[in-house]
């Protein structure tokens, strides 16, 4: 039962990364691809009706993690106290900058929120990547089942690492470029004119950086976390996840060269899902590796009681079917390119 819930949480996080990933990426490139007020409203309109619902996947995944693996939730959230709080602040800034921008039209109001939206999205991409890096590297858990990481120590992978070390920063940069690529493809899919052209160009340029960083991070990850190689050796079928990521990378190149935005975007989604699931598969059955492997949290030692997990399987499936229905309807309702009035109605 614990393994099933492990897979479901991984699935929810993957959906979160694919969905909120594009609106985070769109935010990170906001100032780069949209120059005029009209162009910036195009970018905002491309995510306006959906970003909030996308973010709910984070909350739903968090809640699911909470009841299915309470030990992991307690240990991980208190250990990553500082970066999580910073993530919360960034989510607050980002949410308000999207929501409040259009209430007033002024040359001091708009650029302020545009900047905040862009900066907070940019930093969120880096922090989410760094968080994943921390999980792969392992955290300084001890016999009490707890740990606390300061934001940084000496940037090395020692016994007392900080949230930011050379490896997690590298993963953060990979996450940033991969989500920028993802977001640029979404924006090009939803817009027209100069915004679309700039986004396509950016996605093309980004591809090489993503390729380069993927190579380095993959190499470093296998060195730092031996469990990944061990698990791929013992269960070779797991190779489908890295294969999905590689296929996604190739697909992006192929489709983007032909300006097929929808195919590029889906390929990018395959890449992100493939990368994330490779990591999750690699560390399994650990859910939070420790620097000292004896103290690692595993599915077995962090799951909740079996009755709760069984009964939740029923309502969870029901709820997710409903949610999928809402999402399909909302995305369908707002399908197609966004149209922005040249002169805003004030």
């Amino acid at each position: 039962m614990g393994t099933l819930w492990f897979c479901l949480v991984a699935l929810m996080i993957a959906i979160y990364v694919l969905l909120d990933g594009f609106d985070l990426g769109a935010g990170a490139i906001h100032l780069l691809v949209a120059k005029t007020d009209e162009e910036r409203r195009q970018v905002l309109a491309s995510i306006g009706p959906v970003w909030d619902a996308n973010e709910v996947w984070l909350l739903a995944a968090g809640g699911t993690l909470y009841f299915a693996f309470p030990v992991l939730y307690a240990s991980g959230f208190s250990g990553f106290y500082l970066p999580l709080m910073i993530v919360l602040w960034l989510l607050i800034l980002r949410g308000t900058s999207i929501e409040f921008r259009n209430h007033i039209h002024s040359v001091v109001w708009d650029p302020f929120w545009d900047f905040l939206f862009c900066a907070s999205s940019f930093l969120l991409c880096v922090f989410f990547g760094a968080a994943l890096g921390n999980v792969v590297r392992g955290v300084p858990l001890d016999g009490s089942g707890y740990f606390f990481e300061p934001l940084w120590t000496d940037f090395q992978l020692g016994e007392q690492p900080g949230i930011l070390d050379w490896y997690s920063i590298l993963v953060g940069l990979l996450a940033l470029t991969a989500l920028v690529n993802h977001g640029a493809l979404w924006v090009s899919l939803k817009t027209s004119g100069p915004v679309r052209e700039r986004s396509l160009r950016l996605a093309n340029q980004c591809w090489w950086v993503v390729l380069f960083l993927t190579g380095i991070v993959t190499f470093a990850s296998f060195r730092i976390q031996p469990q990944i190689m061990a698990h791929f050796r013992s269960s070779p079928w797991g190779a489908i996840f890295p294969a999905l990521a590689i296929a996604g990378m190739a697909g992006k190149r192929w489709a983007n060269g032909r300006a097929k935005e929808i195919k590029s975007f889906l390929a990018s989604a395959c890449y992100l899902a493939g990368m994330l699931l490779s990591v999750v598969f690699g560390v399994f059955p650990m859910v939070l590796p420790a620097r000292n492997p004896a103290y690692s949290l595993t599915v077995e030692n962090s799951q909740a009681g079996s009755y709760g997990l069984k009964v939740a399987a029923i309502w969870w499936v029901l709820g997710i079917i409903l949610a999928t229905g809402y999402f399909a309807y909302v995305y369908w309702s707002f399908a197609g390119k966004v149209a922005v009035d040249r002169h805003r109605d004030e």
């Binding site: 259009n102 709820g319 999402f327």
Partner: protein, 453 residues
């Protein structure tokens, strides 16, 4: 030397108090929006659609504030209260996850459609979107109240060897008696906030001789729904809450009432300042035997005072419990009076021209916020010294590795950020009221309005 747990308590108290400013309005307004959309559907009068569009704007601002300040709440269970989460996560994680899965998806999906999709959805479709936003927000309220109710009155669990608390009955958790009454009481409080805000804006328009048709609609809706909510707030929901507290948290009841000594035929204190050190109420203004009657329907019933309980079971801030409870009840009584008078005037056809009543309605707008907040303080500080009543003490629930210094760092961060947000929220809400319903009378579309405009 300061205990980290005190900082963690302040951290949660500050962030949740600020957060609840917004849901209490949006949950109340969601119901009133359904009312306005229903009127529009049944009468075919565009006036009600315009009124709904105006309130949708205010709703949008407050909803956004509620979303961004709500996310930190779920996170804090893990970040600041790790020992609690480790023990009880298998139980309360269920209701918190259900909130995400069943209400947030519903709410966030259909709010986008409600705000931007009016043209596309048609009249019935748009009514349905409003209805689903209401349903989502009220479901969300239920899951949160059920979570709190379990901490107030834990049921449907069993404790296993390592001290972990496991769920024993799903329906037992969801249909906790405490949750049902607390939910009804909480939602009525939210409806009153919505009603007072709507009536206050209407009164403002009538007093300033502008948008008078809207002013009348808003005052009428606020007052007629408001009186029902105000009455139900007192009875049966408030009454039943009190009886549950008397049955399961008798020491909390004594603190709420400022009752130090045990009495047969205990009096109800209307005024008086508790002096905990000397165990007495200064200059008390009391109704003799009333507390016994209200609690047990018997004038001579025995009500236990604080003196009958060991001090380590007393809530650690008795003054706070006492004052917040008295403020809540006092304001609740005032709401019945204000709304009651307004309804009488409405029947006589005098309400819309009665300037003193319009002034009163306009100036009352902060009061329901204070009453709702005071109610929550009564419940949560009254629950002390327990985090889970009778099962886990608050002192044992916080995160062992998060120091007071780190907790202060993030608390100060939240205080700074929320101060700025509060100013923006007041500014933007005021601006929408100032622009008025005619200004927002057109149908918004996503291209024109990029955000929840």
């Amino acid at each position: 030397m300061e205990h980290a747990v005190d900082v963690h308590r302040l951290h949660f108290a500050f962030t949740v108090t600020f957060h609840y400013i917004f849901p209490q309005l949006t949950m109340g307004l969601a119901l009133l929006l359904v009312y306005l959309k229903t009127k529009a559907l049944r009468t075919g009068d565009e006036h009600y659609n315009r009124a709904a569009r105006f309130w949708a704007k205010i709703f949008g601002i407050n909803f956004a504030m509620g979303v961004v300040t709500g996310i930190p709440m779920e996170f804090q269970f893990g970040t600041n209260w790790a020992e609690f989460s480790k023990s009880a996560g298998g139980v309360i994680g269920q209701t918190l996850a259900m909130e995400g899965v069943f209400s947030f998806f519903l709410e966030s999906s259909f709010l986008g459609l409600f705000l931007f999709g009016e043209k596309k959805l048609g009249r019935i479709g748009h009514w349905l979107a409003a209805f689903l936003v209401w349903l989502g927000s009220w479901l969300s309220g239920y899951f949160i109240v059920a979570t709190d109710a379990w901490m107030q009155h834990p049921v449907a669990y069993h404790t296993v060897a390592n001290g972990r608390i496991e769920l024993a009955s799903f329906w037992g958790l969801l249909l906790n008696e405490w949750a049902l009454w607390q939910y009804a009481h909480t939602m009525l409080g939210a409806v009153q906030t919505g009603c007072f805000v709507m009536a206050a804006v209407g009164a403002f328009y009538l007093l300033t001789d502008r948008d008078e048709a809207y002013g009348r609609t808003f005052v009428k809706a606020g007052v007629l729904v408001g009186i029902v909510a105000a009455l139900l707030q007192l009875f049966p929901t408030g009454d039943m809450q009190g009886k549950l507290v008397a049955a399961h948290q008798p020491v909390t009841l004594a603190a709420m009432e400022g009752l130090f000594e045990t009495h047969e035929g205990a009096p109800l204190a209307i005024l008086g300042q508790p002096d905990v050190e000397h165990r007495r109420l200064d200059n008390p203004l009391e109704i003799p035997r009333m507390l016994s009657f209200l609690t047990y329907q018997h004038w001579k019933a025995n009500v236990k005072g604080l003196a009958d309980f060991p001090e380590e079971l007393w809530p650690d801030r008795i003054e706070m419990v006492y004052y917040s409870y008295h403020i809540m009840v006092g304001l609740g009584t005032i709401f019945i009076a204000v709304m009651g008078f307004a309804v009488v005037q409405f029947w006589r056809g005098e309400l819309f021209t009665s300037r003193w009543m319009l002034w009163l309605l306009m100036l009352s707008v902060p009061l329901p916020y204070i009453a709702n907040t005071a109610g929550w303080i009564t419940a949560e500080v009254g629950r002390q010294p327990w985090l889970i009543y009778g099962l886990m003490r608050t002192a044992h629930g916080s995160s062992p590795r998060v120091s007071a210094g780190n907790a202060w760092f993030t608390l100060i961060g939240f205080m700074g950020m929320y101060s700025v947000l509060a100013i923006l929220w007041l500014f933007l809400t005021w601006r929408e009221i100032e622009l008025g319903p005619e200004h927002t009378g057109h149908v918004p579309e996503p291209g024109e309005a990029t955000a929840y405009d």
